[in-house]
Symmetry: D2
Subunit: 88 residues, 4 copies
């Protein structure tokens, strides 16, 4: 379950990212200076990270609920894996 | 100037990334499991990085040409900044 | 509170890291090839990360306990900050 | 060949890092709060990165010299590998 306000925020951000990626295509076609293109790529990475953070926050809440119900060791192992794989 | 084969490869990758981002929107709408969404986000990051690498390669060649022509100290400073800002 | 086995493991790793850093000093003094020095630096980063992971694991367990006792929103905010600041 | 001033700067930084790592051991022994330990670990990562940067700068200058003398394609491949492996 994703909280409704979070879901909407993720969808809006992903639509903006789609637009940024189309913008990147135009920049490459027009052979804009490398620094400009790299800066735009960094900005897309950053926007993607913000979506990932919303997802991670959602995940933490789910995890915590499961941890309270027991099998804590397993939940921590999974959480550590998620954190070190995705929280960049 | 971007080499023609590199430019084409960047454009193809960016079109694929646009498709991946649309896929992400669908995944969020359908509330797919967090791990799946995070894995897809990581895959978009990776694809973006491959575009960045092509751009960086292009940049290095341009830099080197300028470094040969003199003003080396400045070129190195700029290159270091680019590398540590964008090569992730 | 740090679990005893985890504390011992952290201390052993930190002693090993101290040795690696002394090794790096020798490598620089002897002007060993750049790739060798960079590889050793990467290896120290990796070893430090393993200490950070043990600490993060400890932190998660403490957090979870606090989250169960209430004030969840605050705990999640703090946890998110820790994760995105330190889990690299 | 490492430039003399750069070599001295690297050695000084590495000695400071050695001290920081010993400090970390003390912090773990005394079971200082997790956020403090993590902050100190992040600070060691940062200090190590600064040594890596000095090494990378040295490497770029060596590379450029070799690139000028020919075999450019090979030099760029090696440089790209170094950059994406070590410039973090």
């Amino acid at each position: 379950m994703i909280r409704a306000d979070r879901k909407e925020s993720m969808l809006k951000r992903l639509q903006a990212i789609e637009g940024q990626v189309r913008g990147l295509q135009k920049m490459v076609e027009e052979e804009r200076p490398c620094v400009e293109v790299m800066t735009q790529i960094a900005s897309v990475h950053e926007a993607l990270r913000s979506v990932g953070k919303l997802m991670m926050r959602n995940y933490l809440e789910t995890c915590a609920t499961r941890a309270i119900r027991g099998k804590q060791e397993e939940v921590y192992d999974e959480l550590m894996e998620m954190i070190y794989k995705f929280a960049k």
